[in-house]
Symmetry: C2
């Protein structure tokens, strides 16, 4: 089934203990779209870039099968730019530069050819832009997944709560779940957040894996223990892209299939962190993905027969 | 098969955001022994207490089937006492009081009737006392599991490294693994530590679960997401007791059985944190343990068929 992805397409400049980059291609929708293409052939992007964004980078998206007819190019403006520096533990980072540029006035126009999309991924953007996208779709998609971040909880909590009532799955990290719910226990946090609207909640815990909550059910996927995390940028978006891409590709939104989608999302994220930016996820052979998923199976499987 | 447990039997005074206790029964060997009794009937304790230690608390151990003929009682001395206060996140704590008392001169005498033990659990004590115990056994046990802590890495690293060459399984937490190896990545840390002697390494990550390493194999068990962690004291020791108790009870030290042992250890630890001290693990019904293990199965199981 076809997937509509909305979010940022941007430049990032990243510094980690292993090195630093100049401006490289980044943005939530970039990671989401690229990851999703490994599972579904119909990935439709809505985003905005400036005249400074190279056509060669758009070509990379197209070569992976991403439909960029919904990518607005504002010739006289500049693309969104983020720069950050990771600390030695790779679990925390400082934002050095945030230049909103074209994102500051982003009006998400949905091309007519996108209207039949059955899966919608709302990458991290202002909650009001996210709800505008939902409002502009003639038919409600079969599944709407939303990502957000603590920044919007601080400056646009009311908008965020309104948008939460419109989506099926919320994907946030553990600190964001605690901030949104006011609860330290993630079990208690999940109950409060599920009461805000979403039927499913994914709590991403970085190197500690991810939890999927649905009613009183809970599923846990570990992160793969890696020799080295080279660059965590985009890992959460890559997870989300793998997750919704797998659901769209299989067109099955049962809880059991969502578990599989969490594993595939985790596998994609485990590749993402192995190199800078999108470098690793633009060049994956399909056997690599299968091998990685097998690693997850080996990591957690055990046999216990209860009487 | 019979299990020999050595470690502290002590008093703890604990303060958490949920309340505080007076002196209650604690100590690594207490938690280990109690947890192990759910899996094997032959648990033999070597430890030392002072004259202040109440017979009623020893009776509790006996009622659970722990053989305390190796428990030395030094009538004119005081028992080991530890007092600590947990921070709001329950992941960190301050030690308020440490009184070594009888532990300062502990000479671990092994009763003759313990000599046939095939499983040995070295609870957290000075590495030289731990190696003394191994030296006093006429036959090497089938499996030796060792717990230790960062304190000994700071003040007795050479002794610790010597003892490491004598054991089969080392059980430590993530920060201790990083300190011992000098590596941040737990995968790299595991390689270095396995090179120090143990054939198996367990890295406990508290609320983030536990990893079992053996050569290039790795198994991950999550911690159960709980509504509330009431008191983490003893959770690591309870895990270790469930782990080695299960191995002794099944008398199978294959990697597949160690995976099961990690799950049973994790299940026992998940009970431990629900109440103060040993309160929860002295009163477990067997169906509760089965139900809890089923929760772990439900938490991580998924079905993916790779072509």
């Amino acid at each position: 089934m076809s997937l509509l992805v909305i979010g940022s397409v941007a430049f990032d400049a990243i510094e980690t203990p292993f090195g630093k980059t100049d401006k490289i291609i980044g943005g939530a929708a970039t990671y989401i779209s690229l990851a999703a293409t490994y599972f579904t052939k119909q990935v439709n992007l809505v985003a905005v870039v400036g005249g400074d964004f190279p056509q060669t980078k758009i070509d990379i998206l197209n070569e992976h099968g991403v439909n960029t007819s919904g990518l607005q190019i504002k010739k006289d403006e500049k693309s969104f730019f983020w720069s950050g520096k990771y600390h030695n533990d790779m679990n925390s980072r400082d934002t050095l530069v945030t230049e909103l540029n074209v994102l500051g006035t982003f009006d998400p126009v949905i091309p007519e050819t996108y209207q039949d999309c059955q899966y919608l991924m709302l990458g991290n953007l202002s909650p009001s832009v996210q709800s505008t996208v939902i409002g502009r779709l003639k038919n409600r998609p079969k599944l709407i997944v939303m990502d957000t971040m603590n920044f919007w909880m601080q400056i646009a909590l009311d908008d965020l709560k309104k948008t939460l009532t419109l989506v099926d799955v919320l994907s946030i990290n553990d600190e964001e779940a605690r901030q949104l719910s006011g609860e330290y226990s993630l079990v208690k946090a999940s109950r409060k957040i599920l009461d805000m609207g979403p039927k499913f909640l994914i709590i991403k815990k970085g190197e500690h894996g991810a939890l999927l909550f649905h009613g009183r059910e809970v599923f846990f996927a570990p992160a793969l223990p890696l020799e080295e995390v080279f660059d965590p940028t985009g890992a959460g978006d890559t997870f989300a892209g793998g997750f919704i891409g797998y659901l769209a590709g299989t067109n099955d939104i049962s809880f059991d299939n969502m578990k599989r989608a969490v594993i595939y999302g985790s596998a994609m994220a485990s590749f993402c962190v192995e190199k800078f930016g999108t470098e690793r996820i633009v060049n994956l052979a399909s056997h690599e993905l299968d091998d990685r998923v097998q690693d997850f199976i080996d990591l957690v499987q055990f046999q216990i027969s209860l009487a």
